[in-house]
C-alpha cells in the first residue's frame, strides 16, 4: 500500500527549483501610502515616529504586506463564488505557490520566517517579490493534519529593483485530520 508521503515525491524532486520564471517579479498591489502604513502600526499600537509623517519609513516587518498582490483586480474572474458561510475565495495570493503535481490540501499556515534586511522602504515605494525558490519540502504528519512543510526563498525589491530584504519563508500545507477521517 503506497504511503501518503509518496504523493509529495514530485514536489520533493523539485527542491532547488526557482518557480518564478526568468526573474519574474510579483508586485504588491499598491505603492505604500500613509493610510496603509497607519493601519499597519495602529493594530500594534506602535508609535515610533519613524513610521509617521510625510517622510515615514515602513516597518521592516511590513514588507510582506506591501509586497502582496491584489486579491482581485478589474477584469479578473470573481473570487467569491459561493454563499456558504465559511467558503474560501477561489484564489488568494496568500496560499503560496501551488505547482502542478502538488497534492491537494485544504489548509495552510505559516510556520517559520527568516529575513535579512538590506534597505528601508518609504512612503511611495512599491514593493515586489522576486524569485521563489523551493529549498525544502518535507512531508510530515502533525497534530493538525498530514501534509508537507515547504520553504521558499525570495527577495523583496522596490520599484527601482533595489533589494530591500532576502527572505526564507516556510509554510505547512495540509489536509486536516478531521477531513482525512471523512475521506477514509
Amino acid at each position: 500500500m503506497p504511503d501518503w508521503k509518496d504523493d509529495w515525491a514530485p514536489m520533493v524532486a523539485r527542491v532547488g527549483e526557482d518557480f518564478a520564471q526568468d526573474g519574474e517579479v510579483r508586485w504588491g498591489v499598491d505603492a505604500i501610502d500613509a493610510s496603509a502604513l497607519r493601519r499597519y502600526v495602529e493594530v500594534l499600537e506602535f508609535d515610533c515616529p519613524l513610521h509617521q509623517g510625510t517622510d515615514a519609513v515602513a516597518p521592516a516587518t511590513s514588507f510582506a504586506t506591501f509586497a502582496l498582490p491584489a486579491m482581485w483586480a478589474p477584469g479578473e474572474a470573481p473570487i467569491f463564488t459561493s454563499g456558504a458561510r465559511d467558503a474560501e475565495p477561489e484564489r488568494s495570493p496568500l496560499k503560496g505557490t501551488r505547482p502542478q503535481g502538488m497534492p491537494p490540501t485544504s489548509a495552510y499556515m505559516a510556520t517559520d520566517f527568516e529575513v535579512d534586511y538590506i534597505a528601508d522602504a518609504r512612503l511611495g515605494d512599491r514593493l515586489g517579490r522576486r524569485g521563489n525558490r523551493l529549498v525544502q519540502c518535507e512531508p510530515k504528519e502533525t497534530r493538525v493534519g498530514r501534509g508537507a512543510f515547504t520553504t521558499w526563498e525570495y527577495e523583496v525589491i522596490n520599484q527601482r529593483h533595489e533589494v530591500l530584504a532576502r527572505c526564507r519563508f516556510s509554510m505547512f500545507h495540509y489536509v486536516p485530520h478531521a477531513a482525512a477521517d471523512r475521506r477514509a
Binding site: 493594530v43 506602535f46 516587518t61 504586506t65 474560501e88
Partner: protein, 154 residues
C-alpha cells in the same frame, strides 16, 4: 509610554540585558483589525469555525501581526537611530488564539563590531547586537526563541 527622544547607544548595552516586555492582548476585534491592516485574510485568523476545521482550537494571530510584535519590542529598545538588520528563528510553534495575551520578551545575547561594515554610511550598521526574542502566551513560549540582529549608534 516610550520616550522616543531617548536613544540607547551600543556602548551602553551589556550582554544579558533584558528588553522591556510588551504585552499584546488578542481579542477578536484586534485579529480582525490585523487582517485588514496586514492583508493576511486567511480565515484561520478571523473565523473560529474555519480555524477549528483546520485543527486549531480557535482563530489565531497571523505571522505578520506576530512579527510586528517583535519589531515593536525591539524598536522600543534600539530607538529611532537603531537599525533592524535581520530576524532569525521566527518559528511559530503554538497557536496564539483569540483570548490569549501574547507577551514579547528579549534579552541581549551578544554584542560585537561587524568589521565587514567598516566604512558603512550608517555607522549603526557596524555596532551590532543579537537580541534573543520570544513570545509567550498563557500556555508557554509560542514563537521562537529566535533572534533579531540590530545595529545601534556607538
Amino acid at each position: 509610554m516610550v520616550d522616543w527622544n531617548e536613544q540607547r547607544h551600543w556602548s551602553d548595552v551589556r550582554e544579558g540585558d533584558a528588553l522591556a516586555p510588551v504585552a499584546f492582548p488578542l481579542t477578536v476585534y484586534r485579529l480582525v483589525m490585523a487582517a485588514g491592516a496586514n492583508r493576511d485574510f486567511n480565515a484561520i485568523h478571523h473565523n473560529t469555525a474555519h480555524a477549528q476545521s483546520t485543527g486549531a482550537p480557535e482563530m489565531y494571530a497571523n505571522v505578520m501581526l506576530l512579527q510586528g510584535m517583535w519589531e515593536r519590542t525591539a524598536r522600543e529598545y534600539i530607538g529611532t537611530a537603531g537599525v533592524l538588520l535581520a530576524i532569525r528563528g521566527f518559528r511559530m510553534k503554538a497557536f496564539n488564539t483569540a483570548g490569549d495575551t501574547v507577551t514579547v520578551h528579549g534579552r541581549i545575547r551578544r554584542k560585537w563590531i561587524e568589521e565587514a561594515e567598516k566604512g558603512a554610511t550608517d555607522p549603526a550598521r557596524r555596532h551590532r547586537v543579537e537580541i534573543e526574542m520570544w513570545s509567550d502566551n498563557g500556555r508557554g513560549v509560542s514563537v521562537g526563541p529566535g533572534a533579531i540582529v540590530a545595529g545601534l549608534p556607538f
